[in-house]
Amino acid sequence: MVPFNIACGACPFCQQELFGNCHESNSEATAVGGIFGYSHTAGGYDGGQAEYVRVPYADVGPTIIPEGMDLDDAVMLTDVTPTGYQAAEMGGIQKGDTVVVFGAGPVGIMAARCAWFFGAGRVIIIDHLDYRLEFAKSYAYCEAYNFKDMEDPVVFLKRTTGWLGADVCIDAVGCEAAGNVVQSLVGRKLPLTGGSATALHWAINSVKKGGIVSIVGVYGPLDALVPIGNVVNKGITIRANQASVKRLMPKLIDHVMAGRLNPKGLISHRIPLEEVAEGYHIFSAKRDNCIKPVLIPPSASAA
């Protein structure tokens, strides 16, 4: 299993298990580590959606697939599952906490599922696609609400948490967020900012004073429109990172092998590598009730 991020194992960041923030895998930016297929800014590496891939530091990052593990679970352990898990972990969830996850994509759904490992009392997921909310409800045992049915999602969340605010909010959306015209214009259409920060805006305003906001949604390096004054005045702790896949691997293998976690259950589409363009379109345009597609290279069809 090859993590999506490239880690040397020697720099101070890797030494302290920040494997998503390696200092020896990306010359082009100090603001992001090396990531397979993630643009020039993340090191200019070819991606892993291929038959073969060059893996730098292959003696550091990868983990041998445990005997008996389903290959579909294995592929999901290299990106989506640790990202979702770390989103919940960074929430610093205390037993009984009400956790709100913005975004019912594969990572958000996984974050909602993993919140229970930390003893959440309520888990609420917010999105605008009913089919994903339906899926999330049964997969992650959570409450699911469509923000298009609400006048104001922040007021809705205040009301449903006894007017205090959520204990923990998780932004599992990032720069492609829908729901606010101005954010969409400056963050997605033009783009003048690091992305549409609608989900983060709602997270900051929905969490209680002294609460924690955890961000795994991806934003560009440019500034984004964030109500930072509310972060200060509410005393919010913001925790964010790219997932440290290698750090989380032992724990996640244990959850999967013990049958507590079912990453392969997120897979809705199996697409031949040759049809990758269609696969991307289906996922990004959310066609055919897509949750998570996996690409099957020709050489893997016999596996």
Binding site: P221, Y280, H281
Partner: protein, 182 residues
């Protein structure tokens, strides 16, 4: 730009550590330090390595076989790097310009965002140069749109055609009028 290779073992931390060690005689220094006051736990397993700065045994250096753009916020190249997209063409010129500025400037990121978009056009020109007519419909995965959202696709294409026709008509009229003016 010449790529600078970093030494394999130590990079002097300028005077950073020496300076940091000079203040321990200030009354009360460190009295209230609390190792539990660390919001990075358990994501980061703090062990003090940060204070060693870049002084660590580095992995083997990947040979430099292509031009590698390098952030001016680091002293040299990272030990490994991607070789998939070295700077070239007009987008490459813009990228080289951007890398004269730090990641803390718009002069860095705005040109890079622009270079990405120019790179798209350069890719299409490169295809044509190689005698390949790019199949945008296929590359955008619109076959899937035809399968799962046929009505929407037809509507979008029809809207596009109408808008394009209206624009063409408008331009034609403007041209006529400006021709008359002269």
């Amino acid at each position: 730009m010449e790529n600078k290779i970093e030494p394999a073992t130590t990079i002097e931390s300028t005077m950073d550590r020496e300076i940091a060690n000079q203040y321990k005689n200030i009354p009360g220094w460190g009295m209230d330090a609390d190792p539990l006051n660390n919001p990075t736990y358990p994501i980061k397993h703090y062990n003090g390595a940060d204070h060693e700065r870049l002084n660590y045994q580095k992995p083997e250096q990947q040979p430099v076989t292509v031009e590698v753009l390098q952030s001016i916020e680091r002293p040299g190249l990272s030990r490994v790097f991607g070789t998939s997209t070295p700077p070239q063409g007009l987008s490459g010129v813009i990228r080289r310009f951007a890398f004269r500025y730090s990641e803390s400037t718009y002069a860095h990121w705005v040109p890079l965002v622009m270079a990405d978009r120019i790179g798209v056009v350069e890719g299409i020109i490169d295809d044509l140069k190689h005698g390949i007519v790019p199949n945008i419909f296929a590359e955008k995965g619109w076959k899937a749109e035809w399968k799962y959202n046929r009505k929407g696709l037809i509507k979008n294409v029809a809207t596009g055609v109408v808008v394009a026709a209206a624009l063409a008509l408008l331009l034609k009229n403007i041209n006529k009028r400006s021709a008359k003016a002269f």
